[in-house]
């Protein structure tokens, strides 16, 4: 069986509260990073507060409805970002959110590699029926990456984000298990 946590550029490791908090406190200062990743107003939180939040998650222990990974490069074992999966256990639907905090790793295929690893994990280990995500319409890089991975655009909630005086849409994407399986068997899109 494949190594579920090793891709071509990155590997998944466990969430490390101290490292994540130290990195988040830096990343949150990068406005572009925040506005690509989130829809709520930017804020600056203390490392202590962030650390407490992740410590609490770690304390709760493994939960069937939430999976958090740290992402490290295979080349230098550098911590570059994170990926989180939330599972609706009854309907067998998972949601993914990922972010690369270290800018120099944008646009070099790292995000796509992370997402491919995630797809393999959710469909062959968690055995969910579909994986969903939301993305800002102005995040073209992410949009292209997700399309490459096989996500289909399922619609857009119009003008639901307001920034710099401008309203943009949130794009909703999804991939079904049978679609992903077909991609594995019949070759890439």
């Amino acid at each position: 069986m494949k190594d579920l946590f090793r891709g071509e550029l990155v590997r998944f490791t466990m969430e490390e509260p101290e490292l994540r908090a130290k990195s988040e406190v830096r990343w949150q200062r990068d406005t572009e990073f925040h506005r690509l990743a989130d829809g709520d107003p930017a804020r600056l939180t203390s490392e202590k507060k962030i650390r407490e939040w992740f410590d609490k998650q770690a304390e709760d222990g493994p939960q069937p409805k939430r999976y958090s990974f740290s992402v490290r490069t295979l080349a230098d074992d550098k911590y570059i970002g994170f990926l989180g999966v939330w599972v609706d256990l009854i309907h067998s639907e998972a949601w993914v959110g990922l972010a690369i905090g270290e800018r120099e790793f944008w646009s070099h295929g790292y995000g796509t590699d992370m997402m491919k690893l995630c797809l393999q994990y959710v469909f062959t280990e968690l055995c969910v029926e579909r994986l969903s995500l939301g993305v800002h319409e102005y995040n073209l890089r992410a949009l292209r990456s997700y399309e490459k991975c096989g996500f289909r655009l399922e619609g857009r909630t119009r003008k639901d984000v307001l920034r710099e005086g401008r309203r943009t849409d949130t794009l909703w994407m999804g991939i079904l298990r049978e679609e992903w399986l077909q991609m594995q068997n019949g070759g890439q899109k």
Binding site: P64, K65, L89, I90, H91, S92, L126, C127
Partner: protein, 199 residues
């Protein structure tokens, strides 16, 4: 959509710890009742201590645990209770335990009706893929009832119990979703390749 709480003789209703602990106290006085249900020598707990523990469990509203009380359709009488615990989400398997405390409802098809309702709930609302149970070998009435609902024998845990001077096996039974759908008895859902809903 079908009503997933109602059968032909009974309905599943809310589990109210205060009401249930009083009922348990009464039912547990009947040693036959708790010997059919429980493997341990059960202390006769006070209604109050039972209620507190139950209250905490029920209040959690965990996706992995479901508590129901069983009431008759005819008179809305509380006759027993039912619990379902998801064992693992990847395998979508759950353990069920049911007990009818009012003995005049034994041997009349009430247990089978409860189980049929439960299976519909498990397979069409929780979307589980199998339901499991264990039953004592000296409870042939329950074993027959479960067989009628479609459960298959999967094994014995030998000599698991010690009662009345001898050892007894615990019998393990299970039913798969495909098997339940295939029964066609209490259900008019047919799952075909395209997951088309026919009613």
């Amino acid at each position: 959509m079908k009503d997933v709480f109602t059968g032909k003789l009974v309905r599943l209703s809310a589990f109210d710890p205060a009401e249930m602990s009083k009922a348990y106290t009464r039912w547990n006085l009947n040693s036959e009742y708790f010997r059919l249900l429980s493997s341990s020598a059960r202390p006769l707990k006070s209604a109050k201590s039972e209620a507190k523990w139950l209250e905490e469990e029920v209040a959690k509203m965990s996706l992995a645990s479901y508590f129901f009380s069983i009431r008759t359709l005819a008179e809305d009488k509380l006759i027993g209770d039912l619990g379902l615990d998801v064992v693992g989400w990847a395998g979508r398997d759950a353990f069920v335990g049911l007990g009818i405390g009012e003995t005049e409802y034994w041997g009349k098809g009430y247990g089978t009706d409860v189980m049929n309702v439960l299976l519909r709930f498990a397979f069409t609302e929780l979307n589980l893929r199998r339901v499991s149970l264990s039953v004592f070998e000296y409870n042939p009435r329950a074993i027959r009832s479960y067989e009628k609902s479609g459960f298959r024998h999967e094994g014995h845990v030998r000599n698991a119990l010690n009662r009345e001077g001898r050892r007894w096996d615990a019998v393990y039974m299970g039913i798969l979703r495909e098997e339940w759908l295939g029964l066609g008895t209490d259900t008019d859902i047919v799952l075909d390749r395209d997951h088309e809903h026919r009613n």
